[in-house]
C-alpha cells in the first residue's frame, strides 16, 4: 500500500511539472483564441478545432516550438480516450430511440465505411509512389 502511495505521489508530481503546466497554459491560449474566432465569425466549426489548426500553423511557422507544447499535448492525448467515455455512456439514454433504426443504420454505416476505405486506398495505390 505504501509503495502504491509513493508511486501515486511521484505520478502526480510528474503530472504537475512546471514545464507541463506551462505547456498546458499555451494549449489553453490556443483554445481560447479558437473559441473567440468561432464566436466572432460564427462559422460552423467548433472553437477547439480552430484552435487545433492555429496550433498546427503556429508550429509550422516556428512561432512556437514543439518542445514547448509536447509536455502537455502528449499527456492530453494519452488520456484522450478517457475524455470521451462519458459520451459513449450517454448512449444508454438513447438506446430506445435508436433501436428502431438499428438495421438500416448499420447497413448504411457499413457500406459507407467500405466505400471510404476503397476510394482512399485506390487513389493512393494508383497515384502514390
Amino acid at each position: 500500500m505504501k509503495k502504491v502511495k509513493g508511486k501515486l505521489i511521484l505520478y502526480i508530481k510528474d503530472l504537475l511539472l512546471f514545464k507541463r503546466l506551462k505547456a498546458f497554459f499555451y494549449v489553453l491560449i490556443f483554445l481560447l483564441v479558437g473559441e473567440t474566432v468561432q464566436y466572432l465569425t460564427d462559422i460552423p466549426i467548433a472553437g477547439n478545432i480552430i484552435g487545433m489548426v492555429l496550433l498546427f500553423l503556429a508550429l509550422q511557422q516556428k512561432l512556437i516550438q514543439l518542445e514547448d507544447i509536447k509536455p502537455a499535448s502528449d499527456k492530453l492525448l494519452e488520456f484522450l480516450v478517457l475524455f470521451f467515455i462519458p459520451y459513449g455512456v450517454g448512449l444508454m439514454v438513447y438506446f430506445d430511440l435508436v433501436e428502431a433504426f438499428w438495421l438500416p443504420m448499420s447497413g448504411a454505416v457499413i457500406v459507407s465505411t467500405l466505400l471510404t476505405l476503397y476510394v482512399t486506398a485506390l487513389i493512393v495505390e494508383k497515384f502514390g509512389k
Binding site: M52, L77, F84, G88, V109, L117, Y118
Partner: protein
C-alpha cells in the same frame, strides 16, 4: 450510501477505474472486440444500470472529464504537426486521396440515410462517423445532432475498420501498404490507425496523417454537406 453517487468525483473515479481495467483486459487477451473504449463504456453502463443510477447523476462527473476534450482536440494539432514533418514528400497524393475518400464517406452516409428515410437527428449524428471521436463529437454539436449517438457509432466504425478493413482491401486488389494505411486512417480514425500500426511503421504513419486530415476536412465541410441534404 447512495449519496456518494451524487459526487462528481464518483463518476470520475468510476470512469478511470473502468478504463484501466479495460486496458488490463486488452493487454491480457488481445482480441479485437476487447477494445478498451468499448469495454469501459459497456462496463460503466452495466454498472449504472445494476445500481439504478441515472445517467444525469453520472454525468455530473462525466462533464468534468469531457471538458478536457477542448484542450485535447487542440493538442491534436501538435500530433498532426509531428506526422506532417515525417511525411512531407508524399503529402500531395495523401491529401488528394483523403479529401476525396473523406468526402465520399460523408456524402455516402448522408445519402444512404436520407434515402432510407432515417430521421433527421440520426443523419446529423452520423455524418461524421469516420473521424476521430473528439472531432466527431464537436461536429455533431455544431450540426445539432446527438453527440452520445455519434460517440457510439464512431467507435463501432473504428472497430469495424480495424477488424475488416485490411481483409476487405486485399480482396479488392489493393497491394500497396501505404494505401491500406491511408484508407484505415480516413475511414476508421484512431482505432483503424491502431491496426495500420500493426501492419507496419509506414502504413501507421500514413494512417495517422490521414486521420488528422480527414478530421479537419470533415469538420470544415460537414455542415455545408448536411445543408444540401436536409
Amino acid at each position: 450510501m447512495r449519496d456518494i453517487f451524487q459526487f462528481p468525483l464518483f463518476a470520475i473515479a468510476l470512469t478511470v477505474l473502468f478504463y484501466f481495467l479495460a486496458r488490463r483486459i486488452r493487454n491480457k487477451w488481445d482480441i479485437f472486440f476487447f477494445n478498451p473504449v468499448l469495454l469501459s463504456i459497456a462496463g460503466i453502463i452495466f454498472f449504472l444500470n445494476s445500481f439504478d443510477i441515472e445517467f444525469d447523476t453520472y454525468n455530473k462527473g462525466g462533464k468534468i472529464l469531457t471538458f478536457f476534450l477542448g484542450p485535447a482536440v487542440v493538442a491534436l494539432g501538435a500530433f498532426f504537426y509531428e506526422k506532417y514533418e515525417q511525411l512531407r514528400q508524399d503529402l500531395k497524393v495523401i491529401f488528394i486521396a483523403v479529401v476525396i475518400g473523406g468526402l465520399c464517406g460523408v456524402f455516402s452516409i448522408t445519402l444512404f440515410l436520407v434515402l432510407l428515410k432515417m430521421p433527421d437527428f440520426l443523419v446529423r449524428s452520423l455524418a461524421s462517423k469516420s473521424v476521430t471521436t473528439p472531432i466527431a463529437i464537436e461536429i455533431t454539436k455544431v450540426v445539432d445532432g446527438i453527440p452520445d449517438i455519434t460517440a457510439g457509432i464512431v467507435i463501432a466504425v473504428g472497430i469495424f475498420g480495424n477488424t475488416c478493413g485490411p481483409f476487405f482491401l486485399r480482396h479488392m486488389g489493393i497491394k500497396n501498404k501505404k494505401a491500406v494505411g491511408a484508407a484505415l486512417g480516413t475511414a476508421a480514425h484512431g482505432i483503424g490507425t491502431a491496426r495500420a500500426i500493426e501492419e507496419g511503421q509506414l502504413p501507421g504513419t500514413y494512417s495517422g496523417i490521414a486521420m488528422c486530415l480527414n478530421g479537419l476536412i470533415t469538420a470544415f465541410l460537414t455542415p455545408y454537406i448536411l445543408y444540401l441534404f436536409l
